[in-house]
Symmetry: C2
Subunit: 332 residues, 2 copies
């Protein structure tokens, strides 16, 4: 499949960058000598946890809503989310005066849901195992005339997500590889299109929790593969049973591989980021950092996207102070 | 006293900026709608907690050591510090291959001291109540031929600290006031000289813990005033009994006032920064943020310098999860 036939182009990402100018935060690219030693190469962390609304999701949500017609905006938007996309949509609605409804799983972290509610979004809860989320969203969209803004499976959302990689390669042009968390796959897809447009030789490697390695399994099978059950991982933002359709079209072509990390490695990385980078990362936001210990890649500087930081202090402390047992290489 | 007679000029700060280019991190200027609402104005937080070695101190330490002669560098440097300057000097020594000795109080936070040790610095402990720190430093400097790099009381150190304000006013040129933590006073002095060079009308307001308000007391008395005892405040980096001499010469002329905050307000602000900004701040690093609730200043956008983030997760959680009782306005 040629790059021209992919459902996302570099131009889409540059368009998103123009819409996000002066709106999204330009997040820092952080480095630390100790991290370079652990990874055996220089490492730059793109701290999207510091993005507005706490994660990279704001880039995609804002870009998608800003691209709607005035009429669509007046009616409002709806999205489903484990939390970060909900907060991102809610902030977008607040900034653009667009009514927002978010459909969240019953077990989503309270902090994430409260964040969206405080920003004025209407919250609809569903049961992760029992209900069909997409059906609920579709029904509400029809009933209330709302535009659907998916968390990953839309061109404008992937394009917005890709602007983080544009920024990162402006901040650190020498990178030879980027490690990117994979949930629905929108961030990975946006990152791959943006990064390979700037540098066709760069490697873009996805990172998934070992228990939620649906994209790894799909790449291995050469087609979308569904996990037998909703994954049980500490990384609540990455509990996908299968890749989203549109990101998958890109990721199957452009991703150079997927690394998996254990929950123990993830919480180690969260503690490391707190201690050394002074950045709060949620479990899903720390998977790329977690993949750096024992990284098996050709030499060269590497970027890691710390995708989000929505986590309660109590939960953070509980996880990091008493992490699950581990045997794998991890950040010390 | 005219600006020309002050022991620090804008040129010194621009020189420092040149030395720090490509070495110090350009830390982000973060904003949040909820913070704007709390402060009743737009607020920009300069997140120096994300600076290399975890605080703004790296700017001054590196600038001071980089300005030494090759011969002085070969012999090595010594500095005294409650922790952040120690880590900053240690990292500087590592980067410039200069031997570093740091003299730290016996009760300095373990994490800060370990950070300096890991980077290769020699550690000498002293007792805060019993020993004369400056005497210990002076004796070791003479005995071993070391150049002294004070944590605040030196032109090159203040100049380096002032580069944070240069950056902040590049990132947010519209600021009408900057809130800056005051310990020894070096950051406040550097900030005041830099900010007022760029905008003579800008207000630079110091922030001190109520229990360690030595600069507030000195400004009130019109001369350096010593507190009766080593202050008891959660902000371990700001436990000064009196302002350092050289910063005082600047601050008494240029500071537009000092606000004090209670320990309860400080730990509230730490929790707020964790939850909303995703930045880890130590108590001393959160005082400017703590001063934003109930701020009594003319309208206009305000900058707050979050000066450092060296704090253990356990200590952070203990402080923030069970804060001291409070009656004052604080971040919700």
């Amino acid at each position: 499949m040629s790059a021209a036939a992919l459902p996302l182009s570099a131009d889409d990402i540059y368009d998103a960058q123009r819409r996000l100018r002066g709106v999204a935060a330009s997040t820092p690219a952080l480095s630390h000598l100790a991290l370079d030693e652990i990874a055996g190469r220089s490492v730059v962390c793109k701290a999207e946890a510091l993005q507005r609304a706490g994660s990279f999701k704001f880039r995609g949500a804002y870009n998608a809503v800003a691209a709607l017609s005035p009429r669509e905006r007046r009616h409002g938007v709806i999205g489903a989310s484990s939390g970060n996309h909900a907060q991102a949509l809610a902030l977008t609605g607040r900034l653009l005066s667009v009514p927002v409804t978010v459909v969240v799983p019953h077990d989503a972290p309270k902090g994430k849901v409260d964040g969206a509610r405080t920003l004025g979004a209407s919250i609809v809860a569903y049961h992760r195992q029992r209900d069909d989320r997409d059906e609920i969203v579709a029904q509400l969209a029809v009933d209330q005339g709302l535009a659907v803004v998916p968390s990953a499976d839309a061109q404008a959302v992937m394009a917005g997500a890709g602007t983080a990689a544009l920024e990162l390669l402006w901040q650190a042009p020498v990178l030879t590889a980027i490690l990117v968390p994979v949930g629905g796959g929108g961030l990975a897809a946006g990152t791959a299109v943006a990064a390979k447009h700037i540098n066709p030789h760069i490697k873009v490697i996805g990172v998934e929790p070992a228990a939620a390695a649906d994209t790894a399994a799909s790449l291995h099978a050469g087609q979308i593969t569904e996990l037998p059950a909703v994954p049980d991982t500490v990384a609540d933002g990455l509990r996908h049973v299968s890749p989203a359709a549109m990101p998958w079209e890109i990721n199957k072509t452009l991703l150079d591989g997927v690394i998996t990390v254990t929950d123990a490695q993830i919480v180690q990385a969260m503690g490391w980021a707190f201690k050394h980078l002074k950045v709060v990362t949620e479990p899903s936001g720390a998977v790329a950092l977690a993949a750096l210990a024992g990284l098996d890649l050709p030499p060269g500087p590497v970027g890691a996207i710390l995708s989000g930081g929505s986590v309660d202090l109590d939960a953070f402390h509980r996880l990091v102070a008493a992490p699950p047992p581990r045997k794998e290489p991890a950040l010390a």
